[in-house]
Amino acid sequence: MILTKAQYDEIAQCLVSVPPTRQSLRKLKQRFPSQSQATLLSIFSQEYQKHIKRTHAKHHTSEAIESYYQRYLNGVVKNGAAPVLLDLANEVDYAPSLMARLILERFLQEHEETPPSKTVINSMLRDPSQIPDGVLANQVYQCIVNDCCYGPLVDCIKHAIGHEHEVLLRDMLLEKNLSFLDEDQLRAKGYDKTPDFILQVPVAVEGHIIHWIESKASFGDECSHHAYLHDQFWSYWNRFGPGLVIYWYGFIQELDCNRERGILLKACFPTNIVTLCHSVA
């Protein structure tokens, strides 16, 4: 699913100020029936994360937190069963899971003697049953299961997707008889930066030499790609030479501009792989 920048922008345009809910996703799928769901979700998620990063600070001022907390308290006093927290998050355009964390933190501050540690909060978010207040537990849980961009469940799904694609890639490499070292083996050898796979014998894809392959179970948009380039891909190049990145959910075509420099992008496992021939010509 390789999109041009223009196509991508069209999709991104539809995502401005859309809450990260089940319903929004459904609408998006209807709007772009030709795109795969996974791609749309990935784009949605990344666009939303960008949005949150931009606006994150304003929700974290002490005034904002105080005002949210008061609204939450007032809401649950009126009706504890109503989706108070979720509505609040949607209303102020903030991720429900993050709003839940905010309120939970504030709540614990009020009820505990020591300020809550990150571990405690994370653990409560993963398992709201641990939250001492039943109403808040329900509210938090509701936020988490209704958030399709943030929260422990979403994190787990993303992690699982990443893992699954690595497994898929490994199978494909095995099937093609390409020997490789995986991340764990590389780490054991003391490599300081480790792509998913290093090919023990380089191959060529579309005329480009490939020493390593990195699997990315997401859509390659500008923002994430540049971050990956800086933190990972160039580091791999610096150590192992040119390589291949597979964005399983597609990428913006224009980003595939470093081929000559040694970073090749694909949206699937390459079909025409040229291997080193050992036969004597």
């Binding site: 209704n146 992690h159 300081d192 160039w234």
Partner: protein, 1229 residues
Amino acid sequence: MAAVLESLLREEVSVAAVVRWIAGSTQGSKDNPGEAAVLSSLRPLRKEFVPFLLNFLREQSSRVLPQGPPTPAKAPGASAALPGRPGGPPRGSRGARSQLFPPTEALSTAAESPVARRGGRRRVLGPARERGGRSLEEGVSGESLPGAGSRRLRGSGSPSRPSLTLSDPPNLSNLEEFPPVGSVPPGPTGRTKPSRRINPTPVSEERSLSKPKTCFTSPPISCAPSSQPSVLDTRPWGLGLPPGCRSLQEEREMLRKERSKQLQQSPTPTYPTPELGSPLPSRTGGLTDEPADPARVSSRQRLQLVALVYSSCIAENLVPNLFLELFFVFQLLTARRMVTTKDNDFELSPGALDSLESPLFQSIHDCVFFAVQVLECHFQVLSNLDKGTLKLLAENERLLCFSPALQGRLRAAYEGSVAKVSLVMPPSAQAVSFQPETDNRANFSSDRAFHTFKKQRDVFYEVLREWEDHHEEPGWDFEKGLGSRIRAMMGQLSAACSHSHFVRLFQKQLLQMCQSPGGAGGTVLGEAPDVLSMLGADKLGRLWRLQERLVTPQSSGGPCPPPTFPGCQGFFRDFILSASSFQFNQHLMDSLSLKIQELNGLALPQHEPSDEDGESDVDWQGERRQFAVVLLSLRLLAKFLGFVAFLPYRGPEPPPTGELQDSILALRSQVPPVLDVRTLLKRGLQARRAVLTVPWLVEFLSFADHVVPLLDYYRGIFTLLLRLHRSLVLSQENEGKMCFLNKLLLLAVLGWLFQIPTVPEDLFFLEEGPSDAFEMDTVAPEHGLDSMPVVDQQLLYTCCPYIGELRKLLALWVSGSSGRSGGFVRKITPTTTTSSLGAQPPQTSQGLQAQLAQAFFHNQPPSLRRTVEFVAERIGSNCVKHIKATLVADLVRQAESLLQEQLVTQGEEGGDPAQLLEILYSRLCPHGAQALALGREFCQRKSPGAVRALLPEETPAAVLSSAENIAVGLATEKACAWLSANITALIRREVKAAVSRTLRAQGPEPAARGERRGCSRACEHHAPLPSHLISEIKDVLSLAVGPRDPDEGVSPEHLEQLVGQLGQTLQCRQFLCPPAEQHLAKCSVELASLLVADQIPILGPPAQHRLERGQARRLLHMLLSLWKEDFQGPVPLQLLLSPRNVGLLADTRPREWDLLLFLLRELVEKGLMGRMEIEACLGSLHQAQWPRDFAEELATLSNLFLAEPHLPEPQLRACELVQPNRGTVLAQS
């Protein structure tokens, strides 16, 4: 001086005698006492003759090459000593010409720089280089300031100056008289090596009127952009303009204006390729190329004599720079026309012919005649030039016209030549690969150092990539763009060990990027070449060649360019400057010195004459390539070593004089040299390896500051080099002496060195020439490297790109264009794998056996020795790896099981890890002793086969078995030496790593670590992906929790399908990772709670919206079975009884407890939860705050569960008791 020449012209003395005289040889003078008498009277002037001759010729040619490119002669201004007209005016303005550096020089450079800047991506010169070039030139102008102490008196100031002087030639530097014409001088302009050889003669009052004369050594104005950041000005390589430049700038400005006027008048004309022999049209129309006619040569005899003396001087290496003279001669050959002078017409009196009173070159015909005469004497050199130059020479119509014989020989030489020189640029940069052996954590003192270096590596390449992208953009500045980032990075290198790591990376990258492929097949990275050849390297090569043509760097340094950092080298130079870190510089010097010594001492294969031809050809190709790789690497390293080592001493200020100089000398002579180059040079000369040592030494010395040549230590080096230079007579080719091209390379690099501004100009001529031949007091090996044909044209031109200027001159002549000084000169640097460089043969053992082994190799082909050493080296290394993978790995496994035992016996804590480790060490390390035996066995087993496979089939059996045995011995020695020293440490390290792995894994979730079952054998991994399931279940959860639209819901079939899929996924473990399984477990528990509380909105008839009890029970059954059978991790079943999940029941009206009771009973029955556990959960449920009725029902439920655990039916009925109105519901269950 001129007296000698005149005697010669009057045929009082013979040419041979003169040359003997100059060379300082007394031999032969007895033959002709008359000659001897004439010459001996002139003896004190002997040393001045050659400079005089060179300057004389330059001067004489001034009318032919009015704006000609500089052909500086290293001659201390002796040109003044000419017999000429009595009482001639002081030769003021003419000085400019005699310096061969006319003002148009600067002008053309200024005009061309932008063009050059727009050149191709891989252009030789970057702006940075221009900076370097400029500063050198400035250094020169500095030098020409009054008081340049050690310089000899010269010019009009010389007391020895005869009263006779030739009348003034036209003042060509005078703009009014000779406005610059549209055509730029033929030949190179650009950043030509400034000729401070012939410095301006001391200024007298009247001369101050003739302004332009001062121009010739000053920097082109375009090279002094004021945009340079001030930081640079503090550096030796980014100097500001020297004092006194202001007036120069003004002049430049004038010239530039003049130039632009000219350009407007003649809009870029195009040139038809001239027909052979026809006069060439000239750019400005009025000036046409004169045809040259042998019949119109004015004084053949005189020209012949001078040509002969001149040629002999060249042949005897009495001139500093062979190629400079050739360049000059080529200029004469391709001179376009004679400048007619207004005020000086040289009327020839009959008697003037044999004197110097009349000009030597009276016409183009004379020039060409002279040039051809000289060239005839140097056919051998010419025939060894590259094929392209030969072609141009052979096709030169003037040459054909004046000497058909020479032309014929050249044509034949061209046709037989295989010396195609290709100056291909290397492909884009490759990174130095990460090698765990040197780069992993074990090589760093701390985690912090390791991670810091990790970041630094990335920053380094980031900076490099940015430089690649931007350095050719106008206005981009290295320091501005990258300086602060580099310094920030260097600032992080705190530990000394980190510095050495970084320097290693830096040096490796330098070698990798800045060596060029020595023709085709050059390699960049270890495995790259093979792949490239598989993928059609031919095509790539063609592509590069095409690119080369398209993006030819247009700038060139002329025949004597200053030392520069072309291409990628500029990056490394600028990096060093921007980093400005003394620690870095010191580490870099250490590392460079070490590598230079290592490479210089490399036992390069020796040619053995016994080899048969076909075989040796193949060998020679490889050996030549290896030599080229080593030589080019050495030159690169030495250049940077020189650059860094002399960096602190180079400055913009003129060299010190007088007392100041003395004190500096006293101080500097105390400082030991960064690398003992003198010893290396002596050793190189003794071992007849000058061809390897001298070229890199020249690179090193080319960066010396002004004081260096005055230091005794370096003075000794220069003396050696001068003697070597003199001894390299090309015409002497003896058996066992140096090969022709080897000599040519040395002559070229030495000649270049002697032109470097910092080398005192009088050094060459003052140095007492050796009266006897250059004899090294040596017991030289029979076949030193010098006597082997290791240099070919490719290497010659790669090392000395300025030789290509010759071809350029000829090409310009052909094209008729005297336009840009576009060049064929591209600096290339072959690449290779660094490993091949580092593959130093291992030091063999001492003792008789070693001597025997050495002796064995002595009479064998070198390939045999290389093979054996290679095999031994590899097998030895493999042996260590093998031991590591077998013996050590076994020990590690033992350690792990021992550790498990310890953990079991000592309980969860397992005791103090350090103590544990010591126990393990003491039990395991003794086993390391086996390593030696195993290693010996391994080498014994593996080496012979490898040797056999690599040696020719026909190797005699005895030789083969000896070779095998030596290989076994060497490999064993290598492996055992390493093993005995390191095996214990290795075992300790590996065991420690394994233990910490185990202890870490021991950590948080032991259950998750437990034995995990994989998929069944028949599994085809088609189960739904875990991520898909989590997200599906999450959707159901979110629907249940709400909020939801009225039309949203789940079908019962979907629910069943979902739970079914969950089973499949759990059975296929292919894609399942522990976190995903944990979440699936949790989600399944949540789902069960929602089923129990009947909270899942069901699609269907509007009234229904609820799941049938039977269906719910079925689903719960399925889940229970999954929890029991399929989950391999823990399932948080206690969540079923968490207040939140039980509380879900509170919302349902009517409340239904039966499913919960059913679930609890099943949990106990299946052993998923204990009764006690459930009891505890129920107990804690009571503590929560519930609505009163709910609390009552809950209490009843728990009482029922606790009271009658084994009677399910009554429990259900008991529920009925609590909720009498739910009879129908119960009946359904």
